[in-house]
Every structure is written in C-alpha cells, then in structure tokens.
C-alpha cells in the first residue's frame, strides 16, 4: 500500500507538473489582464516537441544528448522524496535531504555541460551564470533544510513532515518561518523564476536557463521543459510538505486520501497564486544583484540554524 501510494505520488508530480506550469502562466496572464494560453498548453508543447526532429550541432558529443535524459531522470528521482497525499514517499524516509540536494545538482551539472557542448557563446554564457546562481543557492537551500531537520531531529523529508504534522499552524516556530523564507527564495532561483531569471525571454543580457538550452530542440527540448516543470512542482510539493503539511491523510482510507488530495490541490493553487503575484509584481534583478538576493536568503538560513540552538534552551 505504501509503495503503491509512493508510486502514485511520483506519477502525480511528474504527470501533473506541466499543468502547474500552465496554471501559473494563466494566473500571470489574468493578473496582467491578458487572456493567456489555456492551462493545458505545456502538455501540447511537450507533445509537439516530442514528435519533432532532434537537431544536433556539429561540435556536439554524446554529452549533448545525455544531459536532458539525466536531467529528467534526476528530477523524477527527486519527486520520490516528497510526501504528497499521506506522509510517506518512496525515498522520503530512507533518503535524506542531502541526497536530495545532490540529486538536483546532478541534473544541473549535466545540463550545464550540455549547454557548453553546442560550441556557441550562448551555451557557455548560460552555463556560467547557472553555475554562479546554483552554487550560491546551495547555501540557503542546505541551511534552511538543516534548520528544519534539527527542529524535527530527523534528516529525512518524511521525518520533517511528521514533526510539522504533529503541531498546528500556531505552534510552529520561528525557525520554520525563517527557513521558509530562505527556501522560498531558493525555490525561485532553482526553478528559474522571476527575480532571478526570466523564463519568458531570450534576451542575452538577462537569460540564464534559456541561454543554456538554446541549442536544444525537438525531443531533447521536450525533456528539458518537462524536467523544468517537474522541478517547479517538486519545489511546491517540498515547501508544502515541510511547512504546511496539514490535511495529509493519516490512514489509507479513500475518504482520507480524497480529503488529502483536495487539501493538496488547494495549497498548491495558493502557491501558484503567490508565484504569479510575485512574478507579476517584481522586476528581474540585474545579474550581479542576484548574489545579493541569494545572500539575503543565506542570512535567513543562517539565522534559522542559530535559532534552533537558541530555542533549545
């Protein structure tokens, strides 16, 4: 039963991921008084790309084709850490957050290599910027998770969720608030969202992720897009599981699971609204202001960890 649920959760996160992206896009359109594309559009995009030819630059080696595969595989593996409907996940209790963070790094590393394999300036530029942003984002990401893990006395995602489930909203500590801020900022940076990167532009002055994947087309691009969508849904799932898991099913009865699904959808929608508001309300940061932004997140993470020690006394 647990395994079936775990598989179901992974499938939900992987298959539902483009939908979340579509919803965020639609919400942004509504906020900006545009009509916007239908929320199913990302599926259509992926479907279309999957049926196109795969164009490869002449300088590319095997890494070019391998990178999207590895990116997608590690993204799917990462979703196996996130409890969604009930507090269990395939890797959620045996694998800890360090493994999770490094799995994400795995995909990023290869995508950056794939970007450099094209032999143009854009790929290198994107890879170089991605390297900066992701290496700096690692600090608040890890510190935020460390703080929560110390509070829960458990380094696995399921353990951390368990701790939060046992408490109610008003009983959750300052550590969680600070860690949430740190991880929230990291989530924006990791998924290439607004103040850090603009997913909607191909302007070379600003682009990070899009520069890296500029040479990709067809099925390769479909895999990358899908992996990006999975990363967004994964981040949403992780934030919900760590900081607002209330409503998860405690038994495996259909009623409880159904209720949990409704709660999960509501919380995800709330996050999507928040993301749309942030993206519509904030301008993209200058490239060299991004380290400062991530530095603020690192400071939040640091304080969160310090507070774990302060709270104990």
């Amino acid at each position: 039963m647990t395994i079936a649920l775990g598989v179901l959760q992974v499938v939900l996160l992987v298959i539902g991921a483009p939908l979340l992206r579509g919803i965020v896009g639609r919400l942004k359109a509504v906020l900006q008084r545009r009509r916007g594309a239908p929320i199913w559009r990302p599926y259509a995009d992926i479907w279309k790309l999957l049926h196109k030819e795969d164009l490869v630059p002449p300088s590319a080696s095997g890494i070019f084709g391998l990178a999207p595969l590895l990116l997608l595989v590690t993204s799917i593996l990462a979703t196996a850490f996130v409890p969604l409907l009930a507090n269990s996940a395939l890797l959620g209790s045996t694998g800890d957050f360090i493994l999770l963070v490094y799995l994400l790094a795995f995909g990023r590393f290869f995508l950056a290599l794939g970007g450099m394999d094209g032999g143009s300036a854009f790929g290198g530029m994107g890879a170089s910027r991605e390297a900066l942003v992701s290496s700096l984002a690692e600090v608040p990401l890890v510190l935020g998770l460390v703080a929560v893990a110390i509070q829960a006395s458990n380094a696995s995602v399921v353990g951390m969720t368990e701790w939060a489930l046992e408490r109610n909203f008003f009983n959750i500590s300052a550590v969680h608030l600070l860690a949430f801020l740190a991880l929230g900022i990291v989530a924006l940076a990791e998924t290439g969202r607004m103040p850090v990167d603009n997913p909607a532009t191909h302007l070379e002055l600003t682009m990070i992720h899009e520069g890296m994947v500029l040479e990709y087309s067809g099925p390769n691009l479909a895999l990358i897009e899908w992996a990006g969508a999975i990363k967004l849904s994964f981040m949403a799932g992780l934030l919900i599981a760590l900081f607002a898991p209330w409503g998860m099913a405690t038994t495996f009865s259909p009623a409880a699971l159904g209720l949990a699904a409704v709660a999960m959808l509501a919380k995800t929608f709330a996050l999507a609204v928040a993301l749309a508001v942030i993206e519509s309300g904030i301008a993209k940061l200058r490239m060299y202001a991004v380290p400062d932004f991530l530095g603020v997140a690192a400071a939040f993470g640091t304080l969160a960890v310090i507070f774990t020690a302060l709270m104990k006394r």
Binding site: L50, E53, D54, L55, V56, P57, P58, S59, S61, I63, L69, L70, V73, L77, A80, L91, T94, D96, I98, L99, Y102, F106, R108, F109, L113, M116, D117, G119, S120, F122, G123, G124, M125, S128, R129, A131, L132, S135, L136, E138, V139, V142, L143, V146, A147, A149, I150, S153, A155, E215, G218, P219, N220, Y288, P291, A298, T302, V305, T308, A309
Partner: protein, 622 residues
Amino acid sequence: MAVATLAGCGASGHSLLNSEVRKLNPSLLTPFPFTFSLDPLGLFFLILICTVSLPVALFSVSYVKRHYSAARQKWLWALLFLFVTSMAGVVAASSGFAFLVCWEIMSLASAGLILIEGSSGDRRHNLFIYLLMTHAATAAVIAAFLVFLPHSHSLDFAAIRAAGATLPPGVRIALFLLAFAGFGTKAGIIPLHLWLPRAHPIAPSPVSALMSGVMLKIAVYGFVRFAFDFLVGGPAWFGYLVLVAGAVSGLLGVLYAIAEHDLKRLLAYHSVENIGIIYLGLGASLVFMAHGARVWAALALAGALLHTLNHALFKSLLFLGTGAIADSTHTVDLEKLGGLQRRMPVTGAVFLIGCCSIIGLPLFNGFISEWMIFRSFLGGSTLTNSIAQTLLPLIVGVLALIGGLAAACFVKVFGVAFLGRPRSQEAEHASEAPLAMRAGMMLLAAGCMVIGIWPGAFLRPIVSLAQSLVGAPAAPPETLLIARVIPWVAAAFLALLAVVSVLKRAKRQTPTWACGLPGLTSRMQYTSTSFSKPIRFVFGRVYKADRKLEVLPEDQPYFPASISYHSVRTTSYERFLYRPFVDGVVAAANQLRRLQTGNIQVYLLYIVMTLVSLLLYLRLAG
C-alpha cells in the same frame, strides 16, 4: 623496469594485505629502533597507496616511454619505485625514527621526480620552495617526536601511545600544534599551501597523480596518527582550530581553482580544497570527542578517512586524465583545448567520472564521504555545548558552498576542455590515449564507481577503524542508512534512464545557432576565463587581482587596432604573510653577521664567555 615496479607494487600490496600484523625489525643496524608493523590505520593507508599506485604505474608504462629518453626512463622508474616504497614505509613504520627516515626519502624522491621533467630556472625556484616548505614541515614533525621523547623515553609508537594518555596539558598543546603545523604544511592547508600549486604542476603527470593523490594523504595519515592515536583528542579548541583550517582551505582552495586555467594548477588547488574537506571531518571528530559524543566522532572520522581514499582515487584519475590530454595535445592550458570528447572518447568518459566524483554527485564515491561529513555536522545539534550546537550545523552551509563552487569549476573544466569546438590546432588533431594509459585511468574510474554505487562493503571496515580510533561504543547508524539507500537509488536511476531513453528520436546535424550570421568560430565560445568571470566578480575580494587593459591607439577606444588584457591574480600570501617573515629572518641574519668579525681573538672571547656562562649556569642552577 616497468614490470618490476608493477610487480613490486603488486607484491608489496598483496603480501601485506594478506598478512596479519607483521613485524619487521632491522633495528640492529641502527642506533634507534627502526621497526615496521601494520595496525588497522596503517593498513588502511597502505591499501590506499597500493590501489592508487598500481593504476598509476600502469599508466606510466606507456606515458614514460613516449615522453622520456632511455636514460631518464631508468631514473624515473627507480625514483618512482623509491617514492612509492617510502610512502608505504611511512604508514608501516612503528617507530618515530623509521617514520622520519621514510618521510624524508618520500620528500626527496618526489623532488627528484620533479627534476626529471627538466631544470629551468623557474622550475628550480618552485622546487626550492617545495623543498624549503617540506623541510620546515619535517622540522616540525621531528620536533613533535622530540617533545614526546622525555615522556615516552622511546620513539617506539607503543611507548609514545602509552605516554600520550598521561601528558601534561602544556606539552599536549605544544605537540598538537607542532603536528598540526608540520602535517598541515605537507597536506597543503591554507596558508601553508604555498608549495602545492607550485610543485604539483611541474611534475610529470603520473607523479603529480601520486603527489596529489597519495603523498598528501600521508600527511593526513600523520595527523590522524598524532591527533587520534597518540593524543586521543584534546580540548575542544583543537577541533575548532582544525575546523577553521579546513573551512578556509576548502573555500579558498576552490575559489582559487576556479580562477585558474592551467589544468594542473587548477587540480592542485582542488587538492587544497579536498584536504580542507578532510580536515573539516577531522575537526568535527575532535570536537565531538572533546564533548564525549564518540559515535558522532566516529562518523565524522570515518567520513574523513573515506574521503581521503576517495580523493586519492579521483584526484589521481584526474591528473592521469590531464596527462593523457598533455600527451595528445602538448598543452594543459584550458584556453587551448576544447572538443576533446569527440576525439578522445574514453579519456573523456573517465575524466567525466572523475569530475562527477570530485564534486560529490550521488552514485559516485565523493558523495558518500561528503554525505558522512555532512551528517556528522548535522549531529552537532545534539551536543549540549551551545557553541558547538550553533557552529557545527552552520558549517554545513560552508560545505554546501564548497560543493556548489566545485561543481561550477568542473563544469568549466570539462565543458571547456572536452566539449564544444577545439580552440587550437593541437586540440583539433588530438587522438585517443594508448591502451595502457586508458587501462590505468579506467581502473581508477571503476574504483570511483564501485565505492559510489556499493558503499556498504567499504564503509564497514572504515567505520570500524574510525570506531576503534575514537573509542566509540557503537557504529553510527547513519552509515547503514546510506549503504542501504544508494544501491536502490542507482537501480531506480538506471531503470528510469532506460524508460526515458525511449522518448528519444533520430537526430540530424545542423549548424550551431549564430544569430543568423555566418562564420561561427571557436574563438566565439566561452573560454575558461570568461566562464569563471561571474564567480570571480562576486568573490572579487578574495582574489585581489591586478588588471591591465591596453587599448591601442588610445584615442579610439571603440575601434581599437589592438587590445590586450592582462590579469594577474596575486595570491597575497607571499606578499602579506611570507614576505615579512622572510624579511625578518634576513634582517636578523644581518644583525648576527656583526658577531662574525673575522678576528681570532673575538672568537676566543666567545668561547671563554660560553664557558663562563655555562659554569655560572651550573652554579646557579645547582
């Protein structure tokens, strides 16, 4: 010669692995006890030496043949053999005298190996700095043994160990600091690392692999022997000192590495970084020991030891890969490489495995050891001491930053050297390395993968070794966890990879997008320097770079006829740390010269004065 070394390495490794603790005692020949025996700690390091030396020797078989004249080949093999044997001697020594003799042979043999490559003035200068610093380190180590002597009355390790428990605190501190400085210099912790990025790049590649992969580990061995075996920990500030050294070395090492474009220097700085990570583990272990949390101490120490082994594997792999690149393209300058993956697929693949291992990606060996060190820092929150409780978990952030920056650096290394278009004629016409070289590298790469995918088999002996060193009552439960979950992740990974590959389609080659303009050249690619620019900009304060931009003619800045950009990254250690010290020594020496008048009567006066003062001392002291 090659076969002899191979056989020697193999035989020594094999015979020693299969025997129990065996004593070798040629003491009759010497005035001091000159004994060898193997305990688990020594055995661990001996295995490390053998597992790395064997593939390196295999690699050298064809590398040496292609690069050196017959006369030099003989010297090289002889010295290489001496080098490896002396390192084995250091870890097998069971008396201070044997330890020091082997230690010294090790230093000299490595210096000799560097000289084989050539002896230009610049080379000799770098070599001189290496010899100077390595002997300063040796002096500190000798002093450490001598400080033990009045308490242990013997240089035998058993006597030293017995005396270690009952040392007065002052002596204990002096000993720790001497060992820390001596072995720290040899291991290359910042700011004592000065020799490392100078000596490693000028050695022949297989020798660099041994120096970086193994010789630095001998220094780690020495430190572990002193701090854990002889002194059995100490006050918490010992640990914090090691932690600070580790954090500084790790962070600055990787930052300096990113700024390099000479592949060998870059890898040398990464050795500094990884030694920093190892020291972080050792420091955490000392802190845990000081606070009585021995199980956590065992986890941290086991992580540090495993990382020592891992670093030996992947760093020698990377240096061998660099050797293969140099063999094929005659350069190790990243700015002149590119597109090698298509030309040297096997070298590229094993080099990529080395890269993945060094940045600690899961399913590669670096991850396992870094994971253990991470987890041990997390365990700092269970201590009751408020400083440790706050500080140890925060260091996880430092480790994460080191990891992130290392990943950035190796994207640069692999992306610039192996991917994209070739940046020079030499890289354009590169060809795959010969079989022996490939085989050597593949052996090391296989080692990295095996530890990374099936860590359980390797963790058990290392954890029990760490347990016995720190006196932990039980094995840390975390190690079982990682050993259990990693094979599953690997299996899931492969299964998913197989499933996802179904989505791929036939491909067609098209030109790279060049904004619709023709004539995309390799010079338009991002270079190593431009890749690292954002990071160098953000961490600008670390580098203190001197930049010079020359635009000719000066009155037309936007349409220059020629433009030259020159950037020198001065490591300020020479200027701010070593230079004042050297100046001080020279000034003191100049003052001392006044004593040297050349007048015979004055010398007689010195002798008389010495006698008188000695007599006075005897009288007053008696």
